[in-house]
Amino acid sequence: MPQAKDVVVPVAVRNRSLLNADTVFKGLTVAAAVVVPIIIVGIFWELLSLSWPALMKFGWRFFVTEVWNPVTQQFGAASSIYGTIVSTLIAMVLAVPMSIVIALFLVELAPPPVSKVVGNLIELLAAIPSIIYGMWGLFIFAPFMATYVQPFLGKYLGFLPLFSGPPMGIGMLTAGIILAFMVLPFITSICRDVFALVPAVLKESGYGVGATTWEVTYKITIPYGIVGVLGGIFLGLGRALGETMAVTFVIGNTHKISLSLFAPGNSIASSLANEFAEATEPIYLSSLIALGLVLFIFTFLVQVISQIMLRRLYRGWSIKI
């Protein structure tokens, strides 16, 4: 397909002076576009310079120390990093299989009108602001967990250290489950695109030799779009890592590493949101922002990986279709 830029505009109708309206217009748009990468570099620079005092004072030990004591001014990121990774892991373990089967439901099982309505409702889950998940999580879902889910898990799986301890409602597990529902729509919508774009010929050949819907999905659709599914998973992962308000409400906000998922903990984002107002000492503030730097690096890497995968996916399709 010819691109618009290939169209030859006759020289006679061009204004050839250097400062014609088109040059100015194009320059403006390029300047606006360049703002975006500049912001990202700016974010990195700002985080680095604000967290420099803490990084200088604590050195590499900052990242492996569990102590977080504003009174003695000793700070370490280990419990926050641990909490961020564990809550994200819980979210992904729940959200990835759910998203894949929901996408399967939307593309293969549901009749088109149902699929449209259900798909839209699932996408609306992504529209609900984070703080609303926090309100609901703290006042409704955490008590629900404490009364029904955690005692049940404790009764049957309590021999595992993961599910031991008193059912308090708030804690790592509750945060992880809420995160799962928050990232679900992102992964589902990419999986749905991926499944819908697999050439019908491939799926029909599968059905033609007698495969069931699940076998077609598992052996044809998912392998065909695996790059896209992985890209979607990483996209959701990035969301879960940096999700702030919902987690702040329900994670419990204690700087302690506990093996039990029922125990309260903290994540990088929740510590930032929760303690920023109290951080009056420069070294306290700087340590908090150093946590932010860690979060920036995590999400940046995850985003880059997900972009590379999604890009490969779409490029692959533009050739194949």
Partner: protein
Amino acid sequence: MKPRPATGRRILNLLVNVVASLAASSGIIVLLWITIILAYKGIPALNLDFFLNLPTPPMIPGGGLANAILGTLLLTVLATVFAVPIGLLAGICLGEFGQQSKLADLCRFAANVLTGMPSIIVGIFVYGLLVLTMGNFSGLAGAVALAIIMLPVVARTTEDMLRLVPDPLRESALAMGAPRWKVTLLIVFRAARSGIITGVLLGVARVSGETAPLLFTALNSPYMMSSLLQPMPNLTVTIFNYAMSPYEDWQRLAWGASLLITAGVLVLNILARFIFGERKS
């Protein structure tokens, strides 16, 4: 080769189908659960006082969130004013001029990364950029933080929508001697209008419920705002502060504010879908 019996495979298939339907329902159940709770807890809080009065100290009746409602509206409008022109221009650069260029590729990549950047990180950035240099928390800083979150959303949707416009339209306009800027602004934009409005609406919806970046920038205030350079009252940070407080009347206001914000965001989202749906049909 003897055919394998199909029973096991059929049962597995049935099982997956049931699990898939259950998973889809669980998503919808959570959505309904949240909306019903919001309505149940929020509607009793929404009276005239809520919309007209300023917050009162705990235990004193008659408090409202007039200042926070206005503040959130103002922050959102300002963020839109900052982000939309730059976002549209950036989208034009990506969609119209930069289909093959390396620089545009980099910007597109950066826009995707910025879309996924945690909003709290953007908050810290603006805190360092504006709050520290200007000496205090301000509504202006809050609006800038929201604008940064909105910018990549607007830019990427604009690009996608411009790409949907068929090239012959551009070519015919160029062939009539129109300069590129006129072709883009007067012809291509008109064809992509509803899609671009959708993008802007989604951007507005995304930032109007943001809390984390405002904690570092606009902060909150119990008074009516007087200046953009002062802390700006807003609904989301108010929800955070009030929900964490032990006072029942403050928690009630937090539920009211939650209902208001969610209703606004959901209406914007549904409106955006509706407008875009019109276009497609």
